[in-house]
């Protein structure tokens, strides 16, 4: 297989004295969907922030298209082609939907391409077109998530980092959004790194999966095989059937490691 578009090796990231990521490595092959699963506080968000340059790792490196990008400013990383859809959407609440999308394309200088992508985005999420002149803060949570994804897409990224897109959404909406994510991947060739607690959805969507536990990768395999594993079924899929949403905390009895 060819060199992965994004290669993370041995990163260690701290919040002050607290070590949140303890030597994490993973590969994201071009045009694939890779997912990182993990419970609350496992360090998923921190991994994505380290990739996009919001946080700097103390050790290890992040290589994007053969170039080391760790410790670069996030706006630089973004210009290279990595768009981050942050946890909790983070839309610009007092700007209109259209202005939010325009901000997504802030770094671009090709108005025609931007206009095309705007149409494409409205094609994926027609509801955004209806609400184009509404303030983003007045959208529903699901619509804000669609906006956050669309806004990232407006930069025409090579890699999109998605942090828990299912957070707080109804199962139906989660399915719809994941369907679009797959379409974005297939139709536009955008490589996707997806971080999720909703293991069921993520494993059905992605090609390859990693399991993160307290700052370490404890399992890595194709999603098909991960779906079969007893541990995954018990700890990550079992909870889904009980229908627990929102606060997904459960006792961790680790059978691996």
């Amino acid at each position: 297989m060819a060199e992965p578009i994004l290669k993370v090796s041995n990163i260690e990231t701290y919040y002050g004295p607290i070590m949140a990521i303890r030597g994490v490595s993973f590969d994201v092959p071009k045009s694939s969907i890779v997912t990182i699963l993990g419970a609350n506080g496992a360090g998923k968000t921190t991994v994505l922030k380290t990739v996009s340059g919001v946080m700097d790792p103390q050790k290890g490196n992040v290589v994007f298209e053969g170039r080391e990008i760790q410790r670069q400013d996030p706006d630089k990383v973004m210009r290279l082609g990595i768009s981050h859809v942050p946890e909790g959407r983070e839309v610009f609440p007092f700007l209109s939907v259209r202005e939010n999308l325009a901000m997504g394309a802030y770094t671009r200088r090709d108005p025609d391409g931007v206009a095309q992508d705007l149409e494409a985005v409205f094609g994926y999420f027609p509801v955004l077109k209806e609400r184009a002149d509404q303030r983003a803060g007045s959208l529903s949570g699901g619509e804000q998530q669609m906006l956050a994804i669309s806004r990232a897409l407006m930069a025409r990224p090579k890699v999109m980092l998605l942090d828990e897109p299912s957070l707080g959404l109804s199962p139906k909406l989660v399915r719809d959004i994941f369907e679009i994510v797959v379409r974005i991947n297939r139709e536009r060739g955008v490589t996707i790194l997806l971080v999720e607690q909703n293991a069921n959805m993520a494993l059905q969507t992605a090609d390859y999966g990693y399991v993160l536990e307290v700052g370490r990768i404890v399992m890595a395999d194709t999603c098909q095989r991960l779906l079969e594993k007893e541990d995954i079924k018990e700890f990550y899929l079992g909870i889904k059937e009980q229908g627990a949403r929102g606060k997904r905390r459960w006792k961790k009895r680790k059978t691996w490691r």
Partner: protein
């Protein structure tokens, strides 16, 4: 007067919204603007408008520099430390002004000498120039913030700094620009004000305090609120001066502010709205 408070208040609000700092040196930037304009006109013999332009541009550049060299380094420090720093900077500017220009009181020659009489009311060009200047500045800023890419990016940055970073918006540059704009507006306010209060090194102090009150009155963080707050404070001052006993002129605005904070703590135009989760 109200317009001037409004303009200075606008400067407070701009910086606060973008960077969450309160710049107490705002009044002293106003004073510097007036002095630079005076220097251009009276010492170098430049025409008024050239002086105006030079002063606004120079102070705006100075504001950007201040952000890049000083304030960027204290972001993340406790609020009170930053507040002290801006107060200290203000004091330094006053010292600088008194060393450079002396502590006399100067009169800025302006082209606004005449009066218009409309229906029995006499309007001096000086006051009209303040009103017109305020309108033009506010209109210009409004158009800038709502219709230019960089203006919208400034709004975006002030609403969600992290997300602005994710969009590739150069946040640091935006902060410097915000400082430049608000320093430039302060300078313009100083020049417009100069014929009324005359120029001396302390001219910014009282204005800044009332402008701060205006910003609070308008709901700190609301730009139209700041301007309207300024006008309200100016009007209160005017009526208090005309109808109440001596001394109330300067306290009345604060009494109103106090009442306002009790009744409507978020200010006239403040919002308590929060981001949806």
């Amino acid at each position: 007067m109200g317009c001037i408070y409004g303009l200075v208040a606008l400067g407070f609000v701009l910086i606060y919204k973008a960077t969450e700092l309160v710049n107490f040196a705002q009044g002293d930037l106003l004073m510097l603007g007036a002095f630079v304009c005076y220097m251009s006109v009276a010492w170098w013999g430049l025409p008024y408008w050239a002086g105006f332009l030079i002063a606004v541009v120079a102070i705006a550049a100075f504001g950007a520099l201040l952000d890049a060299l000083v304030l960027r380094r204290v972001i993340g420090q406790p609020q009170f430390a930053v507040v002290m720093l801006t107060i200290g900077l203000g004091a330094m500017f006053r010292t600088f002004a008194s060393v450079t220009w002396g502590s006399e009181i100067y009169t800025l020659p302006t082209p606004f000498g005449g009066v218009w009489t409309v229906g029995g009311v006499t309007l001096s060009h000086q006051y009209l120039s303040i009103v017109a200047g305020t309108l033009i500045l506010c209109g210009g800023l409004y158009a800038f913030f709502n219709h230019t890419r960089i203006g919208i990016a400034m709004q975006a940055t002030s609403q969600n700094q992290l997300a602005a970073y994710y969009m590739g918006i150069p946040v640091k540059l935006i902060f410097s620009l915000v400082w430049a704009i608000s320093a430039g507006v302060a300078a313009a306010a100083g020049i417009l004000l100069a014929p009324v209060t005359l120029i001396d090194i302390n001219m910014g102090l009282a204005v800044a305090l009332k402008a701060f009150a205006a910003a609070v009155l308008g709901g700190f963080g609301s730009i139209p609120g700041a301007v309207i707050g300024g006008i309200v404070i100016g009007l209160i001052e005017l009526y208090a001066g005309a109808t109440l006993p001596e001394g109330f002129k300067d306290t009345a605005p604060y009494i109103v502010l106090l009442l306002m904070l009790i009744v409507r703590p978020q200010g006239l135009f403040g919002t308590l709205a929060r981001k949806k989760v």
